[in-house]
Amino acid sequence: MLSMAAATLNMFQGDGSRPAQHDGLAELSDLLTRAANRDSRAWERLVHLYARRVYAAARSRLGSPEAAEEITQSVMTTVFEQITGGRYRDDGRFESWLFRIAMNRVRDAARARSRNARLAEDSRHTHGLRLADDPAPDPEKAGERSALRHALVNLPEADQEVLSLRHHAELSFQTIASLLDAPLGTVLARHHRALAKLRAQLTEHAGDSP
Protein backbone atom coordinates (compact mmCIF):
# COMPACT_ATOMS: atom_id res chain seq x y z
CA MET A 1 0.00 0.00 0.00
CA LEU A 2 2.70 2.44 1.01
CA SER A 3 4.91 1.69 -1.96
CA MET A 4 2.10 2.22 -4.43
CA ALA A 5 1.05 5.41 -2.73
CA ALA A 6 4.62 6.67 -2.55
CA ALA A 7 5.06 6.13 -6.27
CA THR A 8 2.36 8.65 -6.99
CA LEU A 9 2.81 11.00 -4.08
CA ASN A 10 3.87 14.16 -5.82
CA MET A 11 1.73 13.92 -8.89
CA PHE A 12 -0.73 16.64 -9.57
CA GLN A 13 -4.21 15.34 -10.08
CA GLY A 14 -5.37 15.31 -13.67
CA ASP A 15 -8.15 17.86 -13.35
CA GLY A 16 -6.93 19.85 -16.34
CA SER A 17 -6.33 23.02 -14.36
CA ARG A 18 -2.81 22.23 -13.29
CA PRO A 19 0.20 21.05 -15.21
CA ALA A 20 2.05 17.78 -14.64
CA GLN A 21 4.56 17.62 -11.83
CA HIS A 22 7.78 18.55 -13.59
CA ASP A 23 6.37 21.47 -15.54
CA GLY A 24 4.28 22.44 -12.53
CA LEU A 25 7.27 22.76 -10.22
CA ALA A 26 9.22 24.72 -12.82
CA GLU A 27 6.29 27.02 -13.39
CA LEU A 28 5.78 27.45 -9.67
CA SER A 29 9.40 28.38 -9.11
CA ASP A 30 9.23 30.90 -11.93
CA LEU A 31 5.99 32.35 -10.59
CA LEU A 32 7.44 32.73 -7.11
CA THR A 33 10.49 34.53 -8.44
CA ARG A 34 8.37 36.90 -10.49
CA ALA A 35 5.85 37.47 -7.71
CA ALA A 36 8.70 38.36 -5.36
CA ASN A 37 9.51 41.14 -7.82
CA ARG A 38 5.90 42.32 -7.66
CA ASP A 39 4.91 40.98 -11.04
CA SER A 40 1.12 41.29 -10.78
CA ARG A 41 0.42 38.69 -13.45
CA ALA A 42 2.55 36.15 -11.61
CA TRP A 43 0.73 36.89 -8.38
CA GLU A 44 -2.65 36.55 -10.09
CA ARG A 45 -1.57 33.19 -11.47
CA LEU A 46 -0.54 32.02 -7.99
CA VAL A 47 -3.87 33.13 -6.63
CA HIS A 48 -5.60 31.30 -9.47
CA LEU A 49 -3.70 28.11 -8.63
CA TYR A 50 -4.31 28.13 -4.90
CA ALA A 51 -7.12 30.41 -3.72
CA ARG A 52 -10.04 28.07 -4.45
CA ARG A 53 -8.23 25.16 -2.86
CA VAL A 54 -7.61 27.17 0.29
CA TYR A 55 -11.22 28.33 0.18
CA ALA A 56 -12.57 24.78 -0.16
CA ALA A 57 -10.43 23.47 2.69
CA ALA A 58 -11.62 26.30 4.94
CA ARG A 59 -15.21 25.89 3.75
CA SER A 60 -15.28 22.20 4.62
CA ARG A 61 -13.98 22.87 8.12
CA LEU A 62 -15.90 26.03 8.98
CA GLY A 63 -19.09 25.59 6.97
CA SER A 64 -19.37 29.29 6.21
CA PRO A 65 -18.63 30.77 2.76
CA GLU A 66 -17.91 34.18 4.29
CA ALA A 67 -15.47 32.76 6.83
CA ALA A 68 -13.82 30.69 4.09
CA GLU A 69 -13.29 33.76 1.91
CA GLU A 70 -11.90 35.77 4.81
CA ILE A 71 -9.48 32.95 5.62
CA THR A 72 -8.44 32.73 1.97
CA GLN A 73 -7.77 36.43 1.75
CA SER A 74 -5.91 36.44 5.03
CA VAL A 75 -3.71 33.54 3.89
CA MET A 76 -2.98 35.05 0.48
CA THR A 77 -2.18 38.42 2.06
CA THR A 78 0.36 36.77 4.35
CA VAL A 79 1.85 34.83 1.45
CA PHE A 80 2.13 37.99 -0.64
CA GLU A 81 3.79 39.92 2.19
CA GLN A 82 6.24 37.11 2.90
CA ILE A 83 7.16 36.61 -0.75
CA THR A 84 7.53 40.27 -1.67
CA GLY A 85 9.25 41.03 1.63
CA GLY A 86 11.95 38.47 0.81
CA ARG A 87 11.04 36.39 3.86
CA TYR A 88 10.08 33.27 1.91
CA ARG A 89 12.93 31.19 0.57
CA ASP A 90 11.82 28.73 -2.09
CA ASP A 91 12.94 25.24 -1.13
CA GLY A 92 10.38 23.40 -3.23
CA ARG A 93 7.82 23.16 -0.43
CA PHE A 94 5.65 26.14 -1.25
CA GLU A 95 2.40 24.16 -1.04
CA SER A 96 3.26 22.80 2.38
CA TRP A 97 4.07 26.29 3.60
CA LEU A 98 0.96 27.90 2.14
CA PHE A 99 -1.43 25.25 3.44
CA ARG A 100 0.25 25.23 6.84
CA ILE A 101 -0.62 28.93 7.10
CA ALA A 102 -4.13 28.09 5.94
CA MET A 103 -4.58 25.29 8.46
CA ASN A 104 -3.36 27.49 11.30
CA ARG A 105 -5.90 30.16 10.36
CA VAL A 106 -8.65 27.56 10.05
CA ARG A 107 -7.78 26.07 13.45
CA ASP A 108 -7.89 29.52 15.05
CA ALA A 109 -11.24 30.30 13.44
CA ALA A 110 -12.69 26.88 14.34
CA ARG A 111 -11.65 27.26 17.97
CA ALA A 112 -13.01 30.80 18.18
CA ARG A 113 -16.27 29.58 16.70
CA SER A 114 -16.36 26.67 19.11
CA ARG A 115 -15.89 29.03 22.06
CA ASN A 116 -18.67 31.28 20.78
CA ALA A 117 -20.94 28.28 20.23
CA ARG A 118 -20.33 27.12 23.80
CA LEU A 119 -21.14 30.57 25.11
CA ALA A 120 -24.33 30.65 23.05
CA GLU A 121 -25.25 27.17 24.26
CA ASP A 122 -24.63 28.14 27.89
CA SER A 123 -26.77 31.21 27.41
CA ARG A 124 -29.54 29.14 25.84
CA HIS A 125 -29.52 26.70 28.74
CA THR A 126 -29.47 29.54 31.22
CA HIS A 127 -32.44 31.25 29.67
CA GLY A 128 -34.27 28.15 28.47
CA LEU A 129 -34.41 29.48 24.91
CA ARG A 130 -33.95 28.03 21.47
CA LEU A 131 -32.85 30.63 18.97
CA ALA A 132 -35.19 31.02 16.03
CA ASP A 133 -32.35 31.29 13.51
CA ASP A 134 -30.52 28.28 14.85
CA PRO A 135 -32.47 25.27 13.64
CA ALA A 136 -31.53 21.78 14.73
CA PRO A 137 -29.32 20.07 12.15
CA ASP A 138 -31.44 18.02 9.82
CA PRO A 139 -29.22 16.48 7.17
CA GLU A 140 -32.03 14.24 5.96
CA LYS A 141 -33.95 17.20 4.60
CA ALA A 142 -30.94 18.73 2.95
CA GLY A 143 -29.95 15.60 1.06
CA GLU A 144 -27.02 13.27 0.83
CA ARG A 145 -24.38 15.97 0.33
CA SER A 146 -25.50 17.82 3.39
CA ALA A 147 -25.41 14.57 5.31
CA LEU A 148 -21.82 14.10 4.21
CA ARG A 149 -20.92 17.66 5.16
CA HIS A 150 -22.59 17.19 8.51
CA ALA A 151 -20.70 13.93 9.08
CA LEU A 152 -17.43 15.63 8.13
CA VAL A 153 -17.75 18.42 10.67
CA ASN A 154 -18.57 15.90 13.37
CA LEU A 155 -15.26 14.09 12.90
CA PRO A 156 -12.36 14.83 15.26
CA GLU A 157 -10.30 17.84 14.17
CA ALA A 158 -7.30 15.79 13.02
CA ASP A 159 -9.51 13.63 10.82
CA GLN A 160 -11.28 16.61 9.30
CA GLU A 161 -7.91 18.17 8.60
CA VAL A 162 -6.44 15.26 6.69
CA LEU A 163 -9.62 14.76 4.64
CA SER A 164 -9.95 18.45 3.74
CA LEU A 165 -6.28 18.71 2.81
CA ARG A 166 -6.49 15.60 0.66
CA HIS A 167 -9.82 16.12 -1.07
CA HIS A 168 -10.68 19.83 -0.86
CA ALA A 169 -7.15 21.21 -1.15
CA GLU A 170 -6.07 18.39 -3.50
CA LEU A 171 -2.71 17.92 -1.84
CA SER A 172 -0.55 14.83 -2.23
CA PHE A 173 -0.09 12.72 0.89
CA GLN A 174 3.58 13.65 0.93
CA THR A 175 2.75 17.35 0.98
CA ILE A 176 0.22 16.73 3.76
CA ALA A 177 2.87 14.83 5.72
CA SER A 178 5.29 17.69 5.23
CA LEU A 179 2.88 20.39 6.36
CA LEU A 180 1.63 18.38 9.33
CA ASP A 181 5.21 17.46 10.18
CA ALA A 182 4.16 13.82 10.42
CA PRO A 183 5.51 10.62 8.86
CA LEU A 184 3.92 9.63 5.60
CA GLY A 185 2.65 6.34 7.01
CA THR A 186 0.92 8.18 9.83
CA VAL A 187 -0.86 10.45 7.38
CA LEU A 188 -1.97 7.53 5.20
CA ALA A 189 -3.25 5.65 8.24
CA ARG A 190 -5.00 8.73 9.56
CA HIS A 191 -6.69 9.27 6.21
CA HIS A 192 -7.83 5.65 6.15
CA ARG A 193 -9.21 5.84 9.68
CA ALA A 194 -10.93 9.15 8.95
CA LEU A 195 -12.71 7.58 6.00
CA ALA A 196 -13.79 4.66 8.16
CA LYS A 197 -15.20 7.03 10.78
CA LEU A 198 -16.97 9.00 8.07
CA ARG A 199 -18.50 5.82 6.69
CA ALA A 200 -19.60 4.79 10.18
CA GLN A 201 -21.27 8.15 10.73
CA LEU A 202 -23.11 8.00 7.44
CA THR A 203 -24.19 4.41 8.07
CA GLU A 204 -25.42 5.39 11.50
CA HIS A 205 -27.29 8.33 10.02
CA ALA A 206 -28.85 6.12 7.33
CA GLY A 207 -29.90 3.63 10.04
CA ASP A 208 -31.51 6.40 12.04
CA SER A 209 -33.51 7.59 9.06
CA PRO A 210 -37.05 6.25 8.73
Partner: protein, 169 residues
Protein backbone atom coordinates in the same frame (compact mmCIF):
# COMPACT_ATOMS: atom_id res chain seq x y z
CA UNK B 1 -3.16 7.28 -11.33
CA UNK B 2 -3.32 9.43 -8.25
CA UNK B 3 -2.39 8.44 -4.75
CA UNK B 4 -6.02 8.89 -3.91
CA UNK B 5 -7.00 6.23 -6.41
CA UNK B 6 -4.21 4.12 -5.02
CA UNK B 7 -5.57 4.38 -1.51
CA UNK B 8 -8.91 3.21 -2.77
CA UNK B 9 -7.29 0.13 -4.31
CA UNK B 10 -5.99 -0.88 -0.92
CA UNK B 11 -9.48 -1.17 0.50
CA UNK B 12 -10.50 -4.77 1.17
CA UNK B 13 -12.74 -6.48 -1.31
CA UNK B 14 -16.30 -7.18 -0.27
CA UNK B 15 -19.53 -5.38 0.35
CA UNK B 16 -17.86 -2.37 1.97
CA UNK B 17 -15.71 -1.58 -1.06
CA UNK B 18 -18.59 -0.39 -3.21
CA UNK B 19 -19.86 1.70 -0.31
CA UNK B 20 -16.41 3.18 0.23
CA UNK B 21 -16.07 4.10 -3.41
CA UNK B 22 -19.47 5.75 -3.43
CA UNK B 23 -18.56 7.69 -0.32
CA UNK B 24 -15.22 8.78 -1.79
CA UNK B 25 -16.89 9.86 -5.00
CA UNK B 26 -19.41 11.83 -3.01
CA UNK B 27 -16.63 13.35 -0.92
CA UNK B 28 -14.80 14.41 -4.07
CA UNK B 29 -17.98 15.87 -5.54
CA UNK B 30 -18.51 17.83 -2.35
CA UNK B 31 -14.92 19.10 -2.52
CA UNK B 32 -15.35 20.09 -6.17
CA UNK B 33 -18.59 21.87 -5.30
CA UNK B 34 -16.80 23.82 -2.58
CA UNK B 35 -13.97 24.80 -4.92
CA UNK B 36 -16.51 25.96 -7.49
CA UNK B 37 -18.62 27.84 -4.97
CA UNK B 38 -16.97 31.30 -5.14
CA UNK B 39 -18.15 33.56 -7.96
CA UNK B 40 -16.13 34.37 -11.08
CA UNK B 41 -14.57 37.46 -9.56
CA UNK B 42 -13.17 35.54 -6.61
CA UNK B 43 -9.55 35.25 -7.79
CA UNK B 44 -9.40 38.87 -8.95
CA UNK B 45 -10.83 40.02 -5.65
CA UNK B 46 -8.41 37.94 -3.59
CA UNK B 47 -5.40 38.90 -5.75
CA UNK B 48 -6.23 42.60 -5.54
CA UNK B 49 -6.99 42.68 -1.85
CA UNK B 50 -4.00 40.59 -0.82
CA UNK B 51 -1.62 42.67 -2.95
CA UNK B 52 -3.12 45.82 -1.45
CA UNK B 53 -2.43 44.65 2.07
CA UNK B 54 -5.49 42.70 3.05
CA UNK B 55 -8.49 45.01 3.21
CA UNK B 56 -11.18 42.55 4.16
CA UNK B 57 -14.05 41.71 1.87
CA UNK B 58 -17.67 41.33 2.79
CA UNK B 59 -20.67 40.12 0.87
CA UNK B 60 -23.18 42.62 -0.40
CA UNK B 61 -25.87 40.83 -2.31
CA UNK B 62 -24.45 39.13 -5.34
CA UNK B 63 -21.23 41.10 -5.44
CA UNK B 64 -18.60 41.86 -2.86
CA UNK B 65 -16.88 45.11 -2.05
CA UNK B 66 -13.68 45.72 -0.15
CA UNK B 67 -14.14 46.75 3.45
CA UNK B 68 -11.92 49.60 4.60
CA UNK B 69 -9.38 48.77 7.25
CA UNK B 70 -10.90 49.40 10.65
CA UNK B 71 -8.54 52.21 11.63
CA UNK B 72 -9.36 54.24 8.54
CA UNK B 73 -13.02 53.69 9.27
CA UNK B 74 -12.66 54.99 12.81
CA UNK B 75 -10.67 58.02 11.61
CA UNK B 76 -13.33 58.81 9.00
CA UNK B 77 -16.06 58.52 11.63
CA UNK B 78 -14.18 60.82 14.00
CA UNK B 79 -13.60 63.38 11.24
CA UNK B 80 -17.26 63.23 10.25
CA UNK B 81 -18.32 63.75 13.88
CA UNK B 82 -16.02 66.76 14.26
CA UNK B 83 -17.25 68.21 10.98
CA UNK B 84 -20.87 67.84 12.02
CA UNK B 85 -20.18 69.44 15.39
CA UNK B 86 -18.48 72.43 13.75
CA UNK B 87 -21.08 72.85 11.02
CA UNK B 88 -23.55 75.13 12.95
CA UNK B 89 -20.71 77.46 13.97
CA UNK B 90 -19.38 77.63 10.44
CA UNK B 91 -22.82 78.35 9.03
CA UNK B 92 -24.02 80.93 11.55
CA UNK B 93 -20.82 82.33 13.03
CA UNK B 94 -20.34 82.87 16.77
CA UNK B 95 -23.52 82.83 18.85
CA UNK B 96 -24.79 86.23 20.09
CA UNK B 97 -23.97 85.24 23.66
CA UNK B 98 -20.36 84.65 22.82
CA UNK B 99 -19.80 87.86 20.90
CA UNK B 100 -19.26 90.22 23.89
CA UNK B 101 -16.63 87.88 25.25
CA UNK B 102 -14.87 87.69 21.94
CA UNK B 103 -15.04 91.47 21.48
CA UNK B 104 -13.64 92.07 24.92
CA UNK B 105 -10.76 89.68 24.33
CA UNK B 106 -10.01 91.28 21.02
CA UNK B 107 -10.07 94.74 22.60
CA UNK B 108 -7.56 93.70 25.26
CA UNK B 109 -5.31 92.25 22.62
CA UNK B 110 -5.44 95.39 20.53
CA UNK B 111 -4.85 97.53 23.61
CA UNK B 112 -1.75 95.55 24.43
CA UNK B 113 -0.50 96.09 20.88
CA UNK B 114 -1.15 99.81 21.26
CA UNK B 115 0.72 99.81 24.53
CA UNK B 116 3.72 98.18 22.95
CA UNK B 117 3.46 100.51 20.04
CA UNK B 118 3.50 103.58 22.24
CA UNK B 119 6.16 102.36 24.64
CA UNK B 120 8.68 100.74 22.40
CA UNK B 121 10.74 102.24 19.68
CA UNK B 122 10.48 99.39 17.25
CA UNK B 123 13.33 100.75 15.22
CA UNK B 124 15.72 100.82 18.15
CA UNK B 125 18.58 98.33 17.93
CA UNK B 126 17.92 96.95 21.42
CA UNK B 127 14.36 95.99 20.57
CA UNK B 128 15.43 92.46 19.87
CA UNK B 129 17.11 92.00 23.24
CA UNK B 130 15.28 90.16 25.96
CA UNK B 131 15.78 92.93 28.56
CA UNK B 132 14.00 95.51 26.45
CA UNK B 133 10.88 93.39 26.58
CA UNK B 134 10.92 92.70 30.33
CA UNK B 135 7.69 93.84 31.94
CA UNK B 136 8.08 96.89 34.27
CA UNK B 137 5.97 99.05 36.56
CA UNK B 138 5.45 101.73 33.95
CA UNK B 139 3.94 99.18 31.59
CA UNK B 140 1.81 97.93 34.44
CA UNK B 141 0.21 101.34 34.92
CA UNK B 142 -0.30 101.84 31.22
CA UNK B 143 -1.82 98.38 30.99
CA UNK B 144 -4.31 99.27 33.74
CA UNK B 145 -5.15 102.50 31.95
CA UNK B 146 -5.66 100.67 28.72
CA UNK B 147 -8.04 98.22 30.37
CA UNK B 148 -9.92 101.13 31.88
CA UNK B 149 -10.27 102.88 28.55
CA UNK B 150 -11.35 99.55 26.98
CA UNK B 151 -14.30 99.49 29.32
CA UNK B 152 -15.32 102.87 27.89
CA UNK B 153 -15.09 102.01 24.24
CA UNK B 154 -11.32 102.22 23.86
CA UNK B 155 -11.41 98.88 22.17
CA UNK B 156 -12.90 100.30 19.01
CA UNK B 157 -9.61 100.09 17.20
CA UNK B 158 -10.14 97.53 14.56
CA UNK B 159 -8.44 99.67 11.94
CA UNK B 160 -5.21 100.03 13.87
CA UNK B 161 -2.14 98.42 12.41
CA UNK B 162 -0.71 95.68 14.49
CA UNK B 163 2.80 96.04 15.87
CA UNK B 164 3.48 92.61 14.59
CA UNK B 165 2.81 93.86 11.12
CA UNK B 166 5.15 96.76 11.62
CA UNK B 167 7.77 94.49 13.01
CA UNK B 168 7.56 92.35 9.93
CA UNK B 169 7.85 95.46 7.82
Amino acid sequence: MTDHQDSRQTEPDGPTQAGDERMLEELQRLAATDRAEPDLGFERRIAGASAAGGGRTVSHGSGRIPRLPRRIGYAALAAAALGLAALPVLLSGPSPESQPVLASDEALLLASFDLLDETLDLDAPEINSFESLTWNDEWDEQWDDARGSDAHGGADRTDSASPAGENEA
